[in-house]
Amino acid sequence: MAVPRPDQHARASRDIAALHDARPASVAEQPNMRSGTLLAVTGIGLVAASLAGIAVASRGGNRPARAARYAAWGSALLAGSVLADSAMEHYRGNFRRKEMFAAPVVAAGTLATALATAVTSRATSYKAALFGGTIATGLFGLGFHLRNILSRPGGLSWNNLFYRAPFGAPGALALAGLAGVGAVAADRADRRERLGQKGHGRRAGYGLGLFTAAGLFGLTAEVGLLHFRGAFHDKLMYAPILALPFTGAAIMAATADPQPRRRSLARKSLEATAGLGLVGTGLHAYGVSRNMGGFANWTQNLFQGPPIAAPPSLAGLALMGFAALDLLDRHGKDPSHGPR
């Protein structure tokens, strides 16, 4: 059982020498940027995109309808969340493929467009086209992420679903685009209704309501998967997976049959979801602090998770839902003019 066997040893050494010479040069995997710089750049990106959006808007135009403003703010929140998240996660993945730059860049563009949509009604067709591009990017992203999952041994395994490129992130980008499209549609519908063309508000509300519900159900799956990955080590981790589908069902019900009682229930649950988004952000920050070194080691631990940028997307979806409700309030059964 003693091992040094001279013949084998000599052969192995020769092989190794050959391999040594042939060994591929180690690839410069990490982009030339430290994580602190990356986070600063992400932050600047967020601010720049926001400023750009507002700059576009400051050049006049009408103030959009309330529903459009809600949906646009929702889109902005979702896009901001995707921008921060994808910039960090794709950096962590070394931006190994050029396509990985698309997510943060498109998210920043979406953020700017969404903010512009929130403050002015101008250039709606351009905005709709841009939001359409966001949706397409999100769908492509889903494809890339699926391929990333399947490319690893185990295929569609729990391990790969937990740790490989997540489905939820490009999904959130697509939702940001949908919220934007919804904002534009809501604004148009509002204008037509004011011109006396009935039915447009109801239809826009219907579409926004369905998308919101679909987003809430999708998010339930994503949050459920990741909180399951965290073994629900904190009981509060159950809160979103109980609240989100409930809210989804409530908004579905209100959309299908927009009577006052259903609208009110949907509104209350959307408020709770938005609140959960805020509380969740705090809880995720606490989660980050529980990693070795806490916030003193922020350049590492912000990546280690849980992602602080994720919970705000709950508030983004809730805003989208408020937009739907606003339209349904005005144009549903027993119309009212919104809360108060």
Binding site: A12, D15, L19, S26, N159, A231
Partner: protein, 551 residues
């Protein structure tokens, strides 16, 4: 070499009504203390998988417990360095004589010396025995049956896994269905993916290894940071060693821990029953009275202590009427196959063995040997790896440098193979004594024909899998890991040292509870089986006490 300023090895820490708080730098937790001249319910020698579990459970049930450990009481956050040399302080490196045809290397790969035992530097692979191994004589025709039903063990595994928050796969591909692991499996490292790729290419099942390292926060313990220093002590407390689990629990329930306290002899009274232990602490020999004594020093130190406690009533050593104390010592064959991958692996990242293949533990066809083996992906730290290159391949100097230059492209598969119990593999006392005047243990070990056949089989199979994963320039190293046996438990006083409750057949207030109880080794790393068995024994002892069956 970086050194941590730590007085843990020089000065006792568990004293003055407090013990180190392992979760905080420089802080303490309250500790109950017991006088030496009043008998405590239980004295426990050793605080590893056997001792600390028993201490926690017995204290929780209201018994007075004092647990001794020869090692230091560390606070991982401040006492552990990212340095292989510095961390040798965790190994049991006291002098031992190793002989036989295949003398085993003692220390780094099989025994630790610290409060928390060997688990402070174990590699966290958390596997269960195959059910049939508990009846390996009757079901499989080799070794000895365990005096316990597999279903009972199965329920205690679940408890052990929950207590250590094992991060494991959602579906375990071998053996009967088991409940869900309390924490989710870790992300696979590149070195684990090599095993996965090879296994898929060969059409053999594989899975993420159940691992005793946190994949999510737990109380004050941080989740794993995947830096891969596990084998030399985890500085984040992600590793669920006995130190951060059962030792903490024991303290909370009123057990006393005495660190840097080496027990040298068990005292036996005129009635032939144990009365307490002589131990060396702070430069002097002292005596602690006890109603019951439990020995949990692992497969070498447990027999050594029992043998060294020989007295006129028990001239061959305590609990040794069968003559089996120290015999049937087993190890795991730890041979490995290594190769160079085209892509960068950086195998030092993360817990070292994140993927496992138990195929040959559960498949009986196509074997020319008894028993089974598992194998896992590998991630040795540089010094560790260089050392194995030198000792196995004999490369040195420039040659060694050249080999080590492939370190970041290396991958390996290493087996944990069941050796057969043999009476000639044993622990005895030598004539030489150590600094405390205690006889140095002499360990003899030789592989049998079956062990060698298994090693050959594994070398072939692992090589094939590594090649299937794309590795080139394969080579093979030999070593052993873990210790099992030496104080076999069983139903028959003639062929075992203690009964199923760990109680000596000869002395009714003397117990053994650790890895030395194993009748057979099994083809998996032993710690979960030791913890589960200790939880089981604790329940039996508590039940005995309730029945008035104890003293």
């Amino acid at each position: 070499m970086s050194t941590v300023v730590s007085d843990a090895q020089e000065r006792i820490r568990a004293t003055g009504g407090r013990a180190p708080n392992v979760f905080r730098r420089g802080e303490w937790v309250p500790m109950k203390q017991y006088p030496e001249n009043e008998a405590v319910d239980f004295v426990i020698v050793g605080t590893g998988c056997g001792g600390s579990v028993l201490a926690a459970q017995l204290a929780e049930a209201g018994h007075s417990v004092v647990a001794f450990d020869a090692g230091a009481f560390y606070r991982p956050l401040e006492d552990f360095a990212s340095d292989e040399r510095e961390q040798e302080k965790l190994y049991w490196l006291d002098e031992r004589i190793s002989g036989g045809d295949h003398p085993i290397e003692l220390g780094s790969n099989n025994s630790g010396k610290a409060v928390g035992g060997s688990t402070v530097h174990f590699q966290m692979v958390a596997l269960r025995f195959r059910p049939e191994w508990f009846t390996s004589r009757t079901s499989l025709g080799y070794g000895h049956d365990w005096p316990v039903d597999w279903r009972e063990m199965w329920s205690y595994y679940a408890k052990a896994e929950d207590a250590m928050k094992i991060a494991g796969p959602i579906r375990y591909p071998w053996g009967p269905k088991r409940g869900r692991y309390p924490y989710r499996e870790h992300e696979l490292s590149a070195s684990a993916l090599v095993l996965a790729k090879g296994a898929e290419a060969m059409g053999v099942k594989w899975c993420g290894t159940p691992t005793a390292s946190l994949s999510a926060p737990r109380g004050e313990a941080h989740p794993c940071v995947y830096r891969g220093f596990c084998k030399i002590g985890c500085a984040t407390n992600a590793k669920q060693s006995m130190l951060v689990t059962f030792v903490s629990k024991a303290l909370k329930h009123g057990a006393e821990i005495r660190d840097l306290a080496m027990v040298g002899r068990i005292e036996v009274g005129p009635d032939g029953r144990a009365t307490g232990v002589h131990y060396h602490r702070e430069g002097e020999w002292r005596f602690q009275k006890a109603r019951n004594v439990v020995v949990s020093g692992y497969s070498i130190e447990t027999p050594r202590l029992l043998l060294n406690s020989a007295c006129p009533a028990h001239p061959d050593g305590l609990a040794n009427s069968s003559g089996l104390v120290g015999k049937n010592l087993m190890v795991h064959v730890n041979d490995a196959v290594w190769g160079i991958m085209e892509e960068e692996i950086r195998w030092y990242k993360g817990p070292p063995s994140l993927a496992v293949c138990e195929h040959w533990n559960y498949e009986d066809e196509g074997k020319d040997f008894d028993g089974g083996y598992a194998f896992m992906s590998q991630g040795p730290l540089p010094t560790d790896f260089a050392t194995s290159l030198v000792s196995n391949e004999g490369v040195f100097g420039h040659e060694l440098r050249k080999w080590m230059s492939h370190y970041n492209h290396m991958a390996g598969l290493k087996m944990v193979g069941e050796t057969m119990p043999q009476e000639t593999n044993r622990v005895e006392l030598s004539d030489e004594t150590d600094a405390l005047g205690l006889p140095i243990p002499k360990v003899s070990f030789s592989y049998c024909e079956n062990d060698r056949k298994m090693a050959k089989h594994a070398e072939r199979f692992q090589g094939e899998m590594l090649r299937a994963a794309g590795a080139k320039s394969l080579y093979h190293t030999s070593s052993t890991a873990h210790l099992m046996g030496g104080c076999r438990m069983g139903d028959d006083p003639a062929s075992s040292v203690v009964d199923a409750a760990g109680r000596s057949f000869d002395i009714d207030n003397l117990f053994v509870c650790d890895g030395s109880l194993f009748p057979t080794a099994g083809g998996v790393n032993p710690s979960m089986t030791i913890v589960a068995n200790s939880l089981r024994i604790a329940d039996r002892i508590i039940a005995m006490a309730r029945r008035g069956d104890l003293h």
